[in-house]
């Protein structure tokens, strides 16, 4: 065993002799990744519903129909409340949005559809911390109101159409030809209404194809654009990539701090007094740190694959290259910390803050595609962004080896820069 391998072996033995630290460095990222993966993922239970309180001051057939439709929508958890309870529950955060359908909403809404200036006012109160829920409620409410108002107009007798027809008939300002066409339209609708009322309601469904109503003029066909059409997106793939990167960087900090501590305790003097070159002393440290990082990666991803169904859908070789590059990056990062750190105590705090920033910018906590555009551009300077993108690319995105080249190249570039900076800054004399 030469000096290099003796030093590497020493680092490995020291690392694995601290079993508590080993367990924490593996278990902690698994637990946090599992949590993030579950929260942000497409789990079997689906996303949680938006709690909405409805106050129906109208109690008309139309208002009840709208409420019934919303209750049938998986997006919402609808509860009917009186105005006081609705306001209280908004303030206490129990519901995200409270909507109030005003008195005479049914008749006013139908008239408003044909241009009446007397539009009913639906009041939407919302929890200011849940702006996104407000947008969803607003959009889906518009859809259900349009559908139900049009259905009510075209499928049952009411005085809205006669009133509207009469207003048109009396409107002498309108050109006669246009007036005649509009009156013909109202007459046609009246015929449809009469036919609809004569039809038996055997299906009991107002949505039967024979019944006319306005509806959304399109439908959507939603498909996840993953590499393997037979494979569903696994949100754990991203969360495990992020947490692996975070905790392996933490391990790199620990090894850097350990080197600083070793220098303080004269152990570094003893190592330097041995017939070893500076290159041997530093590269052995890089090698041992990279091996430990690789071990942690393997342990975390073994659990991710066996328990959480994470799969390498893309290039296995590309995945290995990304992992090895990141392990080397971690080593040079740890060495840089040891080189520029003044004392273990002061350095640890700064290094953790820097690491958390790198991890955050890298998209370990929330995917980088949800960042604003400018932040997405800035985050490209963080090597962690390339590491996480590389791991995402080789796992759930299912990209080929060619897509691993850029992340690997950038990470090896950072490794080189960090390594050179560390060697340049390293103080050999005490």
């Amino acid at each position: 065993m030469n000096g290099f391998s003796a030093l590497v072996k020493k680092d490995l033995v020291l690392y694995f002799s601290n079993r508590r630290s080993v367990i924490v460095s593996i278990v902690a990222p698994i637990l946090i990744a599992a949590f993030f993966g579950y929260v942000f993922g497409s789990g079997a239970s689906g996303p949680s519903r938006i709690a909405v309180g409805v106050t129906d001051l109208d109690q008309s057939a139309l208002s009840q129909s709208i409420i019934k439709d919303m209750q049938g929508d998986a997006t919402f958890a609808i509860s009917e409340l009186d105005p006081t309870s609705a306001a209280a529950q908004i303030k206490s955060g129990k519901i995200a949005v409270a909507l109030t359908l005003p008195k005479d909403f049914g008749s006013s809404a139908k008239r408003a559809l044909f241009g009446s200036s007397d539009k009913p006012n639906i009041v939407l109160q919302y929890d200011p911390s849940q702006q996104l829920a407000l947008q969803v409620v607003r959009g889906l409410l518009a859809q259900y109101v349009m559908q139900d108002v049009s259905k009510a107009l075209f499928t049952s007798a009411n005085d809205v159409l006669p009133d509207a027809r009469e207003r048109i008939a009396k409107n002498t300002a309108m050109p006669a030809e246009r007036r005649e066409k509009l009156l013909a339209m109202f007459d046609s609708i009246g015929v449809v209404q009469n036919d609809t009322q004569r039809e038996p309601d055997s299906a009991g469904a107002n949505n039967a194809p024979s019944r006319f109503q306005l509806s959304l003029p399109y439908s959507t066909d939603e498909k996840a654009a993953s590499a393997n059409p037979d494979t569903q997106y696994n949100s754990f793939a991203h969360s495990f990539a992020g947490m692996s990167v975070q905790f392996i960087l933490f391990m790199g900090i620990d090894l850097g701090i350990a080197l600083l501590t070793m220098r303080r305790l004269d152990l570094w003097k003893r190592l330097r007094a041995a017939p070893l070159s500076k290159a041997t002393l530093l590269t052995s440290r890089i090698a041992s740190c990279a091996l430990i990082a690789l071990f942690i990666f393997c342990a975390i991803y073994a659990v991710a694959m066996l328990v959480f169904g994470v799969r390498i859908e893309g290039s296995v070789l590309g995945f290995c290259a990304v992992v090895v590059s990141f392990c080397l990056l971690t080593s040079s990062f740890g060495l840089l910390i040891a080189a520029i750190g003044k004392s273990p105590e002061a350095t640890r705090g700064i290094a953790i803050v820097v690491t958390l920033l790198l991890v955050m910018l890298g998209g370990a906590w929330v995917p980088s595609f949800v960042f604003p555009k400018w932040l997405q551009q800035i985050s490209l300077i963080a090597p962690t962004r390339w590491a996480i993108d590389g791991l995402d690319g080789m796992t759930w995105r299912g990209l080929d080896l060619g897509h691993a080249v850029a992340p690997v190249g950038v990470m090896l570039g950072f490794t080189l820069v960090f390594g050179l900076l560390a060697i340049r800054q390293f103080s050999w004399e005490e």
Binding site: K9, S17, D266, A274, E429
Partner: protein, 307 residues
């Protein structure tokens, strides 16, 4: 065996070591004595190759070697001031690691590990971790780690710091055994008792400069008096007549406290006491002893060794 010539080292504008020279032969120990911050550790650092000197040279067996060269380092064993061991490795694993760093491997390494553990009296604790050792045992293992590659020269930087007297004696016995085995030892300390007991020659260093060198007896001769009488008196007395007594080299009075330097303690003490009795002076306390290196250092530098 080891010779350092005119070593110089500066840190910025501060001159830490100024033309320090020393030499030590096979089977000898050189004591490097000086207060904290005198430049002892810097001198040791330059000899061991950890610190690049600004000037001067180091020779081992007459051969000038570049400090820091790998071949040079094989001749030197360094015992750092702090315990330089891995607490989570056993005593044996520590020694195997340090042996491997010097290229020793396999059966010779295991044999050598056993030998040095025997030498420092820790063979029965080979499989224990240093964290379970007493301070003295850690110090002995610290020395063993520097001996693993069987160096010609052993540099010991305050190897007994923080050690109880019993463990200190055990370390002294280890060092005397090393002298018998022909090692050249350089031992830095600010404990004069250690230097007096162990060193064949002593170099006194202060503010980075050598202020005296020689055997302990040669250094004592630098003092005006080798015997010292300290007397505390009650009532009036006159110190002036004491200076006229034959063999009295110096007289210092500080209130009721009298300090008399004698060239011969046995002959001079009765004469001094008779002179005081003649003045009807009453002695409250008396203390006598031979001058030590502390007195030498005080006489040469004007301040105490442990200031």
């Amino acid at each position: 065996m080891l010779e350092a010539i005119d070593l110089v080292k500066s840190y910025g504008t501060r001159r830490a070591v100024e033309k320090v020279s020393l030499s030590v032969g096979r089977g000898q120990m050189l004591g490097l004595l000086g207060p904290n911050g005198a430049g002892k550790s810097t001198t040791i650092g330059m000899i061991s190759g950890l610190i690049v000197p600004d000037g001067g040279s180091v020779l081992v067996s007459g051969q000038r070697l570049d400090s820091g060269s790998l071949a040079f380092k094989r001749h030197i064993g360094l015992v750092p001031q702090d315990i330089a061991l891995f607490d989570d490795l056993t005593a044996q694993a520590n020694l195997e690691l340090f042996g491997a760093l010097y290229g020793i491997k396999g059966a010779p390494l295991l044999k050598r590990v056993h030998e040095v553990l025997e030498l420092v009296g820790l063979a029965d604790r080979a499989r224990d971790k240093p964290v379970t050792f007493s301070g003295g045992m850690k110090r002995r293992l610290n020395i063993a780690a520097a001996l693993i590659h069987d160096p010609d020269v052993l540099l010991l930087d305050e190897p007994t710091a923080g050690v109880d007297p019993q463990s200190r004696n055990a370390i002294f016995e280890n060092l005397e055994e090393l002298k018998r085995r022909g090692k050249a030892l350089v031992y830095t300390t600010h404990y004069m008792e250690e230097a007096e007991r162990l060193a064949d020659a002593i170099v006194i260093i202060d503010h980075g400069q050598v202020v005296a060198r020689g055997t302990p007896n040669e250094l004592y001769r630098l003092l005006p008096a080798t015997g010292l009488l300290e007397i505390e008196l009650e009532g009036p007395f006159d110190a002036a007549p004491l200076g006229a007594i034959a063999g009295v080299m110096q007289v210092e009075r500080n209130g009721q406290h009298l300090r008399v330097g004698l060239d011969d303690l046995t002959l001079g003490t009765p004469l001094v006491m008779n002179a005081l009795v003649a003045q009807n002076a009453r002695v409250a306390r008396i203390n006598s002893g031979r001058a030590n290196l502390e007195n030498v250092f005080l006489a040469l530098t004007g301040h105490a060794l442990r200031d």
